[in-house]
Symmetry: C2
Subunit: 359 residues, 2 copies
């Protein structure tokens, strides 16, 4: 065992659940992928990653498919998905990042996404962000603009899920959500059809809460009348919200930093963020802070590219050498420096994004 | 009231059901459409045909959409659907005849349609028959080859049917059949979208057993976030099977004359057909036959273009002047004369049909 500066406590919490649901713990020694998402234990589990990793090592074809529902503006919680897509693309994966407008409309309540028009407007914004992250029209597709082969595949899939399978997994059969699930299954599996990249191991990164989708996808893939590899999945930790005990969610803007937040908004949000600080400066100088529960530290853990910065920050925090105010200031600067460049690229990318969404 | 040589008994049987389900009896005096399907009471009921008929009279735009699932070979039972499409096309209707390959695959059991490939092979045959009936690639579409606007509309519809609505109508929520229903709804309604023909009264002809589809289609049309007319429906009598008490069905070849049956097969099937004849020649000469229960007479009623031929045949049958053998011989000749010309056109149409189905 090598020294692990990122702590393994959170993973231990999940081990019981892993066994129960048939997930495997992600073993960094077995799958040494050189990226901070992996080094920092942000990738916690997998299904069938072994055969995928073999392809990476042997440099044979391997695929990936990742998606986001275009049901709101993107925040840094979504960035993990995007960063992960970049990791495997750089390793040589073929595949797509799917902007799921049909899925967003059919699965979200009307008060959130009242019509397809709204989902498409978000799709334009999300796509422009993806381009700003360095992807091109070859990497991205929008569900509503796929070829008819994709759609007929959605309907083929519908015949291979029984009503009982669906209800067992999702506990209901809301027809809009049925559509969304069929689309998600088609997204993940269609890359292996002869008309796309053909039979090859494929990978999708998801949060643990998405595991029911992974299981049903793998079940359905085995039932389809095509020669395809059962898709592999890796599971990332979700970045939590900025408030104590919250999820980063676009429905609650104060819990998240959005990719289009202004420098002032970022500053306000980070200044209000829950930290591991003590009640007084004196106490914190003496006893130190607690990065394990600090949302600012968590932000750096999910997004700062430099491991040594984090290791050092953790030490300085625990020792009381750095206080929350200074640390927050560094975080505001880190985020705003990133967003300044990103938002310039985003604005430039909007016309291309519109073309991808509307044709 | 004018004299009605076709008898109204069968319609009276339905009147209770009509009231119960909210259907209106088709009134020939109110809607005088000059075609034997209408003159002979083969069109028995409607929903909201009045506003449609007004458009026919005023020569403003009116639409139609008819479909057949490509789950088998076409027989003369299907021809009613096709004849009806021709009637409204000749009156000036815009719209399409849909060859439903996705619907056929998703809604039929695997042993009937094991894969989409099979549904498409039937789609080619069905399409070639439609071309032989005089339609062109502008009149026909195949579900699996529609534009992405059509497919996204299918998913939009899924959000507007609640699980309870679906289960109340169909008694189950088999997901393949859910797909089939969503596709059928999209077929009937999409013609009114701005990207197709825009808001206009539209008509679909169906059998009485299909009324649940009509009701759900009209319900959903009202819930969609588009300005569209609630679709109208007319209901035709199904031609029954050649055997006593049977339905004309492609699953039971002996009950139906197929559009690709050979002259010998037609002869054999008609000779075995149930008639209204008596046990002996003598008895029939004396008491006459009964065209009301005769499947040969029914065949002429559904397909012979000449009213006077039928009126005369009915009289000669009842009086004992014509016997079943002679009548069957006439029927064989009538069918084979038609099929000879039709099958020539069908063979010529196959390459174009392939192009429509496979692109």
């Amino acid at each position: 065992m090598t020294f692990d500066p990122w702590g393994a406590t959170k993973i231990t919490d999940y081990e019981h659940a892993f066994k129960k649901f048939g997930l495997e713990k992600f073993d960094k020694a077995k799958f040494p992928i050189d990226h901070y998402l992996f080094r920092r234990n942000l990738i916690i589990a997998h299904r069938d990653f072994g055969k995928y990793y073999d392809r990476i090592k042997s440099k044979k074809t391997f695929l990936q498919l990742t998606g986001i529902a275009s049901s709101g503006n993107l925040h840094f919680g979504h960035k993990v998905d995007i960063d992960l897509f970049r990791v495997f693309k750089d390793l040589g994966a073929k595949g797509y990042f799917c902007v799921c407008d049909l899925d967003a409309y059919t699965s979200r309540p009307d008060k959130k996404i009242p019509d397809l028009k709204t989902a498409k407007e978000y799709a334009v914004k999300n796509t422009a962000h993806l381009i700003a992250f360095g992807f091109t029209s070859k990497d991205i597709y929008v569900q509503s603009r796929k070829s008819s082969r994709y759609y007929e595949f959605v309907f083929e899939i519908s015949k291979k899920i029984t009503s009982n399978m669906f209800e067992a997994v999702y506990g209901h059969k809301d027809l809009g959500k049925v559509s969304a699930v069929l689309l998600q299954l088609a997204d993940i599996i269609h890359v292996q059809l002869p008309e796309f990249f053909g039979k090859n191991p494929s990978l999708t990164g998801i949060g643990l809460d998405q595991d029911p989708h992974a299981k049903i996808t793998r079940d359905v893939a085995k039932r389809l009348p095509y020669d395809i590899e059962t898709p592999s999945f890796i599971y990332f930790l979700h970045q939590s919200g900025l408030k104590e005990g919250s999820k980063m969610s676009s429905s609650e803007p104060a819990t998240a930093i959005f990719l289009d937040d202004s420098p002032d908004v970022v500053k306000k949000k980070i200044n209000r963020t829950f930290t591991g600080g003590k009640d007084s400066v004196e106490e914190q100088r003496e006893k130190g802070g607690n990065p394990d529960i600090c949302k600012v530290y968590e932000f750096f853990r999910f997004h700062h590219p430099d491991d040594s910065y984090l290791v050092n920050l953790g030490k300085e925090c625990r020792s009381g050498k750095i206080l929350c105010g200074e640390c927050k200031g560094n975080c505001v600067k880190f985020i705003n420096d990133f967003l300044e460049g990103h938002q310039k690229k985003y604005k430039k990318a909007l016309p291309e994004a519109k073309k991808i969404v509307y044709g």
